[in-house]
Symmetry: C2
Amino acid sequence: MRGDLSRPATLADVASRAGVSPATVSRVLNGGTAVAPGTRALVEQAIHELEYVVNGHARALAAAASEVVGVIVGDMSDPFFAHIVAGVQDQTFLAGQLALVCSTGGDPSREIGQLEHLRRLRAGGVILVGGAIRDHHHQLELTRQLTGFLRRGCRVVLCGRPPIPDLPQASAITFDNTGGTMRLVEYLTGLGHRRIGYITGPMAQSTSRERLHGFRITARDHDPALVAEGTFTRESGRVAGLKLLRHKGVTAIVAANDLMAAGALAAVRTDGRPVPQQVSVAGFDDIEFCQDTHPPLTTVRLPLREAGATAGGIACGLAQPPAGVIRLNADLVVRGTTGPVRE
Amino acid sequence: MRGDLSRPATLADVASRAGVSPATVSRVLNGGTAVAPGTRALVEQAIHELEYVVNGHARALAAAASEVVGVIVGDMSDPFFAHIVAGVQDQTFLAGQLALVCSTGGDPSREIGQLEHLRRLRAGGVILVGGAIRDHHHQLELTRQLTGFLRRGCRVVLCGRPPIPDLPQASAITFDNTGGTMRLVEYLTGLGHRRIGYITGPMAQSTSRERLHGFRITARDHDPALVAEGTFTRESGRVAGLKLLRHKGVTAIVAANDLMAAGALAAVRTDGRPVPQQVSVAGFDDIEFCQDTHPPLTTVRLPLREAGATAGGIACGLAQPPAGVIRLNADLVVRGTTGPVRE
DNA sequence: CTGAAAGCGCTTACAG
DNA sequence: CTGAAAGCGCTTACAG
């Protein structure tokens, strides 16, 4: 079939085989301008015979257009990110685009490097997922990078992190982290809990700070010693839970995400205290498995996949960037791990 | 700083600002050939001042090299895929490459389209994750696509699916699906279970078929009516579990993955039968949450992240393609959902 | 409806 | 150690 098996066919190959000019082949490919049906058939035949696949790099270079959306996440093994990415991909698929998923492995400095990578590939959209890092230098560098993206017409979306005041052109989709935690803690307070332990995520991240903030302003007479820091992993939640249980009179433990709550649940069990009779436990995010823990986990539901889809739609250019910030609700989901304090 | 703020700086801009030729800038960028220290400094200064970022498309076009690895998965919200992708990304990061993650949403026909997309971008490596589809036409088309990749020197890795006889150049990393299931069922048989219900994944996928095969050849006197088909989701497992429980004398339910096992567990609970006293339940994969179900889920452990990392290393060119198929173990993990049959 | 030509932004032999 | 030039594979005004 092919003359030179080692070299993929080019548009020029197709043109000469079909007996037309490269421009015509390009028109058939892109379908903008009209092409005579007969000519079109000839070209399509040649494309088929040569198993021609357009070179995306050449196209991107010539047309200055990109069909790639970049997504920067923490770690895919965390369901929080996995569900958001699934939502993004629902949209990139619809748009016929590709998602370049970069993970930082939780190391904020990597975020910048990944952005640079995405800039190289001239991503048409970029989505930053999850908590922003507080570090000032990092923020500065981030703003600089994103400015570069915006300047060339790239769509920038912040998903699950606060808007950047200096960059109002960047769309922002936020979760009601503070409100969700407040509703959860108010509910616990209503059940009579007074000494509530809190397992926070890394304090450098906005998500952690917002959730902890909700806890602090709602937990009455709250003892600063009752806050332990984890890393959003199950194991860190287990360790933090064990630590919190050493304090006298703790009747409830709230974790900043479900993974850590699962770890805390295991810690309470290890300690031999019944849940929720002696200790209540709650998480945040409402990942699917919350229904299957023992008892089922009380938590705060976040529409993760929906958030990802919204972000993806904007980043692909399928949806218009919103005028203001899109705020997504965080609803309390009461299950079996929480109950009234025993007198 | 920049003359024209709307246009990103090009290598030519850098060259003229530094007072050198484009070739020299390219040399500084790629670091192959030697460049005089003074010249290098000049160029680096210009790069910095212009905030220059190399155009990856132009580079890929000129050098015919790509720094992108494609990964095709089912759906990121399934931990099976999420963990494998996390492993892949561990390696792409080390290699300084980017992962283009395409999801098929479980629709096999999408796999081909996504591959075509990856071909366009001249991915340097491509990883197909998870079960292969049996459909003959699909197989043919897949082989055709992959041949195209291989022909141009792209590294092809099959991760969690069997090797393709026609394409020995494609690396394959397989899980011991059959053996793992056999060990699980033998263990159950050893506990006295005779009527074991099995929840299989979609029969079109190789993963499902391999696991079911392990079940069939191990379960003694196995009743064909005791196999229900799910879709690897929790909900499908719940529905299938309910169905299996209607059969008389079922003392154990084995699901082809943990998500469906969690659903089955919920079904058994709904039915009011104690686990494992009246019904044993088991899954496959050993995702993290298995430790937290009630009771903790007996399952078969798959080294998912490790598999992803191995695949990623090969796809990035960091590791040599293996001589033969890499077979990964699937170890039985006994927890609380399984126990002896009560007389 | 179609073609010739310039250009997208790099890299890489080839000279020097 | 450095530069001039050709070429990578497309797209897109500009003519006709």
